[in-house]
Symmetry: C2
Subunit: 347 residues, 2 copies
DNA sequence: CATCCTATATGTATCGTTACACAAATGTCA
DNA sequence: TGACATTTGTGTAACGATACATATAGGATG
């Protein structure tokens, strides 16, 4: 805060003391090879003597026109965002590329719409990456309005923003066909449908009412799959979880399994939810896939351990791709970068 | 990157178009109440027409002398840092205060010493918070050298940096006395001792050789406690885990329990390690506290669930305190903000 | 009606750095 | 030796915004 002490040492002072021009001092820090070893030494000695802390980042950013940081906007409060292993993997990917490109990663906390928009505008970053963005989120427009590059993971699509992510609808349809095959009554264990995040079991909800794009696409794909296997969507029970964790998956699956008629195929939207679902089935003595077929999503470590069929995708690579898109302009298409891993939990 | 398009709209252009002075335009964005409603409207209209994205953050930072962001330096690669629930709680606390104070949170990825130092110097932040810093870490010196405020969580202490954290040695001694009471052969399940992170079981290691301050203090406290209950430290087995997770706690505890003589009291450095330890005891049919007394640390949700005695502290509050220290200058002392929660796992 | 105060508008001078263009010094090669 | 390339050093002019001090108009007050 009181960064500007009475005495802030500047490059000019260092140059003065070293007996060289300001530019020589500047080059010493930003392009050392441009300066003779002798001058370099003089400048560094002067810097040391004066306690110069290196070129001021704000001044440098202003002059250079690049902030040296990437903004990441998470759709939820950090407390929850970081609880999601996929979010963590994604961030790790972003961080990898940031580090590689010598950039910092600025996380813009999301709290309430008004302040969030202000923070987005005020952030000194070279571009924005959005994770888990709801349709019509004001932060997305705010990010685009800054004229800096914007990459949205998963959606929503927007003019002026690039989209990174797999084709969730196609993947959902594919895994839906696997898990629903031969089932009498398919069911779904889903992420929240809207930011209200109400946990509930609903029959055949209209996917178009879902405001989280990834969830909507997956639901659409599962609807396709239900049709493919001849099931009526209006009878398909969707257990909507309020958060993406095993506990919630357990609770909601337990609810689902207590219904009559009981679903005999469960497509879950994540391996975390799936792991809770497996526990819930266990608890009531149902076996996979004999009594109930079940699939996860993400191919997390837990899917491997529990032996469940799942959709593999690499969030880490997608995070890296988002960052690379902004920092180097490299585009990459992930729509087909998913794969169904078959294990024992489905037929 | 190519932030400076051919045509970047500036405040001056907006002012021109609105027919007011640059300052009036500036005030419209930074102190709207300082400007009449009429001018404000004119300026906003002009901004809209020109597609002005708001005041440039770098320029504003330079002029105002504050970057509007807080730097957080994690001692490890993000992939691992975020896997630690305590780290996540800490970050959530930092984020809370950042949001409250209208600041962003910049995470400085740690990869290799050389580049890290450069990144620290180049980061546009108003201060640094360091988490899990090893003795003599170059980033600490680099942070201090910038003359911006620095807060270190847990240690190491350094001139020019404030320290936030509980008195780990006192807390460790206290819980050590609880778990070691009446034991014949105490043992410890520990965090890594150095950045080499080698997993191993060692008898009575010298705590002074430990380079992670928090771990060192806790080991010192446990050494004190061992002495207090009349045990010989040189015989105390310390299972050093390579990471802080349940799996590692399980593995190392299993190793510990296969030794002869078998330890009958286990002080673990986290509830994650403790939960792995509980599983390992289960696996070989040992009961708590009858066969082996066991304690955790942190009072995480898992400690509650497993009913283990633990040291309660709030990382979230500590994170908030670190941020507040930098952003508002508020200091707070956490040395006594810990508490032993007794549950069934110890006597 | 003169005086003083408040609300609003503006001109100027930086904030600290680096891009650019050019000058000077040195080296290279036939 | 002269012509030409290469290194190294420097002056100047921004980058885009805001703090501060001052100017002006209109209102309130006695």
């Amino acid at each position: 805060m009181r960064k500007s002490f009475s005495s802030r040492v500047t490059l000019a002072q260092v140059a003065d003391r070293a007996g060289v021009s300001t530019m020589t001092a500047s080059y010493t820090f930003s392009r050392p090879e441009r300066v003779s070893a002798a001058s370099r030494e003089k400048v560094l000695a002067a810097a040391r003597a004066l306690g110069y802390g290196g070129p001021d980042p704000s001044a440098r950013s202003l002059r250079r026109g690049s902030a040296g940081a990437l903004g990441v906007i998470l759709g939820e409060h950090l407390t929850y965002a970081f609880d999601d292993p996929q979010a963590r993997a994604f961030l790790a990917g972003v961080a990898d590329v940031c580090a590689e490109q010598g950039h910092a990663m600025t996380i813009l906390p999301v709290v309430d719409a008004g302040a969030d928009v202000a923070r987005v505008r005020a952030a000194a970053v070279d571009g924005y990456i959005l994770w888990t963005t709801e349709d019509g989120a004001p932060v997305l427009d705010a990010a685009i309005a800054t004229h800096r590059p914007v990459v949205v993971h998963g959606g929503p699509a927007a003019a002026g923003a690039r989209l990174v992510g797999i084709d969730n609808r196609a993947a959902a349809r594919a895994i839906g066909q696997v898990v629903f095959a031969g089932a009498t009554l398919p069911a779904v264990v889903s992420f929240p449908l809207t930011s209200a995040r109400r946990a509930q079991v609903v029959a055949g909800p209209d996917p178009h009412g879902v405001t989280f794009p990834v969830t909507r696409e997956r639901l659409l794909g599962l609807q396709d799959a239900a049709r493919d296997v001849g099931a009526r969507w209006s009878e398909v029970l969707v257990a909507v979880c309020s958060t993406n964790d095993a506990r919630e998956g357990h609770t909601m699956t337990a609810d689902l399994m207590s219904r009559t008629p009981r679903p005999d195929a469960l497509a879950t939207m994540s391996d975390e939810l799936a792991s809770g679902a497996v526990a819930a089935l266990d608890a009531v003595g149902l076996r996979m896939p004999r009594d109930v077929a079940l699939t996860g999503w993400d191919d997390a470590e837990v899917a491997h351990r529990l032996g469940i069929t799942t959709v593999a995708q690499s969030m880490r690579e997608q995070g890296a791709a988002c960052a690379r898109q902004i920092l180097t302009g490299t585009t990459s298409d992930f729509s087909d970068r998913w794969q169904i891993i078959r294990r024992g939990s489905s037929n």
